[in-house]
Symmetry: C2
Subunit: 472 residues, 2 copies
């Protein structure tokens, strides 16, 4: 499979609006998620919620507002988040005694409650998951990738020790990875963040990094081992089996509506969205083709018949019978919206007992497909498209992992091609800064291999092998 | 069925906390919804979301923040909501040019977007539904019934004319009514609000009013015909079939986590919650009974077998095998939590091939229930309990509708019994004020009948027959 860096025809925000996923709102940096975009989010929620529950977590709901003093209890956390906070200072017509922060993430308020609920080792592991909106006041925003308000799930667990907590952080990371691969047809590189890229307050941050079609990288989900820093700040002590007080070890993990951005940018082509069948709100669009109005009834009735047969197999199907639009206009529109399979039916098709099928992924026309066994054929084709898109994303990633031994080489690769570059790195923060300033790149995650050369940034002895790249 | 006003043993907030549905949070007026309470909300969502979609509405998501100027565009709306607003004045470390209100409801921002999207009669009816959190800064709060932040769904539709919009407002009202009756086993009185009790900005408000076990009334859901006031304010004009610009007619409708309050207070008794089976997160709790540890394995294995059989019928079942607690303690705890059916199994039961069943609604013990056909028996019993609770709530309402012809009579009935009182009313606002001041009661909804006597409040000629009562 030979894929070039192409597909720069659409900017993400443009594409999201043209495909009717979202719209700009009158509130700075906030978007409106329209029906089609929200339907993708509902599918993401329904898949992930099942997996999260299967892993033993139950949902709960905590307040939107966090007392400002809570945020300040964990030093790194406040440093990371306070510049991004929206603050309620007035309510009910009066000035508040203490300002309330609109949650940028809920560690502080959830752990305050954990300290009330967790008393003994018998209460551990303790866990909750929450589907909620959060607000981070970002300077530059972009639909789905970085919006002031976004929707997400955040999971929080408390454990008796580091081993148990680390195992949970990694288990949730693997659940995200499996979900991205099997449902979103994306092949992230998964690994540990460098110290400077960790979540504010975390001991370890694990991340899933997706290579997009434009050569840039997107952090699509994270899972954190938080150690005991928050437990200390919020006094989450439990009585252990020896009747001693011990600090709980915490984890948190989340994915957001940003996944929709990953989905768009991870699969799109010059015609628009390409949605993997499992996550496509409409899997099959049926378009009746007729010139003479007298053919309309027959053809529409055949379309309805096929729709009904597909729906019996739980294939999400729509008919576009809008007679204000030409067939050509509809083809473009549904390709833009990324619907995996288009079925076209004209009078002659009915006479010949066939239909025409167009695959969105390969832009391939399959003519004279027999009406007999059509639903099974569509079912199989949806699986094939799902698999094709995953393999394409995987190849895209594999073919765009480069190596480099100097800042010059790094810059050249990133300017020409984008992608991941695997380099040896000293582990020093000052080198990360240099990488950012000179190459506009960041350390994405640590690779599993040991370093085998000097640091590509500074020439110092290398401590880690890492993946770097330009990220959103 | 003879039911007295009893059951005052638990205050709602007490009960919600003891049954582990929710907890107080450190943020004024906000609660934490814990696993058990949130599981009820998830069931409410899953039932209602299906019905809302079946009625043709799709979900979307609009920003949490509303520019303050938007709220001011509709005069009645701002008057109604501005005293309850939480206001973000600072964000990203800076003072905002225009303060942002945290949505108390989303008419204004949604209709601003409608005006961008709706162009022609072909776009109508246009509709969206949103599941979201909203904030109203209330002076007095009470878990589930009135919290500063709550979760809800709000639906919004635009139509070509009043007839079409009124039909939608009533259709959604009927969907809520059916849901409350069939799923929550509650029998609300449904009708039109008086002018002073309408939603701020609505032309007509229809409401569902539930009589609780303590004799007080709860407004459990509303549907509004908004007329064209918001359309004027937000310029929602469309081109009609005659190519003229016309104002869209709007509706909005919503129910919230308050339904959980209705559920608790509509069914509870002196032992705690009674959950109707359809909405109970746990429908059957199985409790192994043994004194000798050597019996444990056999009994637990039988419990697991029954659980598995019940789960095959999709009956939500748990085993309480916690050996830190006595059986008696467990009985109390699961009764408090309102689980519809308890199964108890001891060694002798296994020998005799029977189990013991306890119905939560009637507190009735069914001894020596044959193990043969047990799952079908449980299935039938769950249906029976669902129906019994609905009939009980319906009788409760019917037996507590009184009539009165003076303020004195009204006061006496409300002090002695609570309930609904059907009275003749002049329709004058000053009489509503008098009713509130003297009897602490409000007009809940208009009855369908015509008035047949002078106004019970003022002795003036009556214009309406109405239901009044003391409400939360």
């Amino acid at each position: 499979m030979n894929i070039k860096i192409e597909d720069k025809d659409f900017d993400l925000s443009d594409l999201a609006i043209k495909a009717d996923l979202a719209d700009y709102s009158p509130v700075r940096g906030c978007m409106v998620i329209k029906h089609y975009g929200y339907a993708i989010w509902e599918l993401i929620q329904s898949f992930l919620d099942k997996e999260i529950k299967r892993a033993g977590h139950k949902n709960a709901y905590f307040p939107l507002f966090i007392p400002e003093s809570f945020l300040k209890k964990e030093a790194e956390h406040v440093e990371g988040f306070s510049p991004e906070c929206a603050v309620v200072t007035h309510a009910g017509g009066e000035k508040l005694e203490e300002p309330l922060v609109v949650r940028p993430t809920s560690e502080t308020i959830i752990y305050y409650m954990f300290s009330k609920w967790i008393k003994s080792w018998r209460d551990l592991p303790y866990s909750i998951n929450q589907w909620a909106n959060v607000v981070r006041w970002e300077k530059r925003t972009r639909l789905f990738l970085r919006t002031t308000e976004f929707l997400w799930q955040e999971g929080h667990t408390a454990h008796v020790d580091e081993e148990d907590a680390q195992a949970m952080a990694k288990k949730m990371l693997e659940i995200y990875n499996k979900f991205m691969k099997e449902v979103l047809a994306l092949a992230p590189i998964v690994g540990e963040k460098s110290a400077s890229e960790r979540f504010a307050g975390a001991a370890d941050t694990y991340s899933l990094e997706v290579l997009l079609r434009d050569g840039k990288i997107l952090q699509a989900g994270t899972s954190h081992y938080l150690g005991t820093a928050f437990s200390k700040a919020f006094e989450i002590y439990y009585q252990n089996k020896n009747n001693e007080l011990a600090l709980a070890h915490l984890t948190s993990w989340g994915v957001s509506t940003r996944l929709i951005g990953a989905l768009i940018m991870g699969h799109k082509d010059e015609r628009g969205l390409i949605l993997p069948p499992k996550i496509a709100p409409i899997q099959v669009i049926i378009i009746p083709i007729y010139k003479n109005p007298e053919d309309q009834e027959l053809i529409i009735s055949e379309c309805k018949q096929i729709k009904q047969e597909l729906e019996e197999l739980e294939i999400r199907t729509e008919i576009d019978a809008d007679d204000q639009k030409t067939a050509g206009y509809k083809f473009n529109e549904w390709e833009l919206k990324g619907v995996p399979i288009r079925i076209q039916i004209g009078k002659r098709d009915i006479e010949n007992n066939v239909v025409e099928i167009v695959r969105r992924d390969k832009k391939e026309k399959l003519r004279d497909i027999s009406r007999q066994g059509l639903t099974e054929r569509i079912q199989a084709l949806l699986n094939e498209i799902q698999e094709f898109l995953f393999q394409r994303n995987l190849s895209w990633r594999e073919e765009n992992i480069y190596t480099a031994d100097s800042l010059e080489e790094i810059n050249k690769i990133l300017n020409d091609k984008g992608g991941f570059i695997k380099i040896n790195w000293s582990g020093d923060y000052e080198d990360e800064i240099k990488l950012k300033e000179i190459c506009k790149a960041t350390v994405r995650v640590k690779a599993l291999e040991e370093p085998n050369n000097k640091c590509a940034i500074s020439g110092k002895d290398a401590k880690y092998k890492v993946y770097i790249g330009r990220a959103y």
